[in-house]
Symmetry: C2
Subunit: 160 residues, 2 copies
């Protein structure tokens, strides 16, 4: 699985500064997501201080994982929908319109977390991604991201 | 306003390790919330690297602020509902059952952010808190947290 490129690694430099998933943010989490068949998958190792109640993972980190996995999956899905090729075609970039997380049970702090996404809807510039977050095979949280594509020249305009 | 104690500062030591709001988490964000009349308020200065797209605040941080402000506000509201006194009575501790964030517009990175909460519902161990997140007086995100109280002896049992 690791040999496949991550969606977030293919963002243009202007869009690769995100604290959650930007390869150019040296302080960030470097969340990375890939295709795994029809699903998208991300693995993440929380740090010892990513705690909520002692022994359990901080809910804000779980929200961040579902968020950046969602926008990354949206980019991958939009590229595929348009017949683009990962690593060759320019990668679209989505931001979060809304985020919902249901915390089903406390997430143990220690194991690698697995976030699996499914593309629920693609419509114009909007992609809806639903995800589960699991620890050792047990689903601890479910989430949904409504991701909105930003114009390709947004960075240029924002900087200009 | 700063003279009023923050809800999160009154959590017992067992419950003060949270990355978002725990006073004992040395790596954490130290989110702190207080009463301001019938509303609750939190101010937070993002760090330069808390970015999404360059120039704008990371959505996962916004989710974290709404999350910990929500659970903190829930604790304050439950204490008040029971006739307790801030800083004297034991502070209840809530965790997040669900979190929803609508990102209304990009949040500029630079200004101090203000998160304002309202108590929408208190019912048994459940408190629902709605929040707005503003930068320079402009609401950039809205959120809702369903907060669930954890038993007072949870930490003892989890450690035992």
């Amino acid at each position: 699985m690791d040999s496949k490129p991550a969606f977030q690694d293919l963002y243009s430099e202007d869009f690769a500064q995100c604290y959650g998933c930007g390869r150019l943010n040296e302080h960030g989490l470097h969340i990375r997501s890939r295709w795994d068949g029809e699903e998208t998958v991300c693995e993440f190792q929380p740090r010892p201080y990513d705690t909520a109640i002692t022994g359990f993972v901080y809910g804000g980190l779980i929200a961040s994982l579902i968020d950046c996995h969602g926008t990354g999956s949206a980019a991958g899905a939009a590229l595929r929908e348009r017949g683009g090729t990962m690593g060759v075609s320019p990668m679209p970039r989505f931001v979060t319109g809304s985020l919902h997380v249901d915390y089903l049970r406390p997430t143990p702090l220690g194991p690698i977390l697995e976030i699996r996404g499914r593309i629920k809807e693609i419509k114009g510039r909007k992609v809806v991604v639903t995800s589960t977050l699991s620890a050792e095979g047990v689903v601890c949280a479910r989430g949904e991201v409504v991701a909105i594509e930003i114009p390709e020249d947004f960075g240029v305009r924002a900087h200009g």
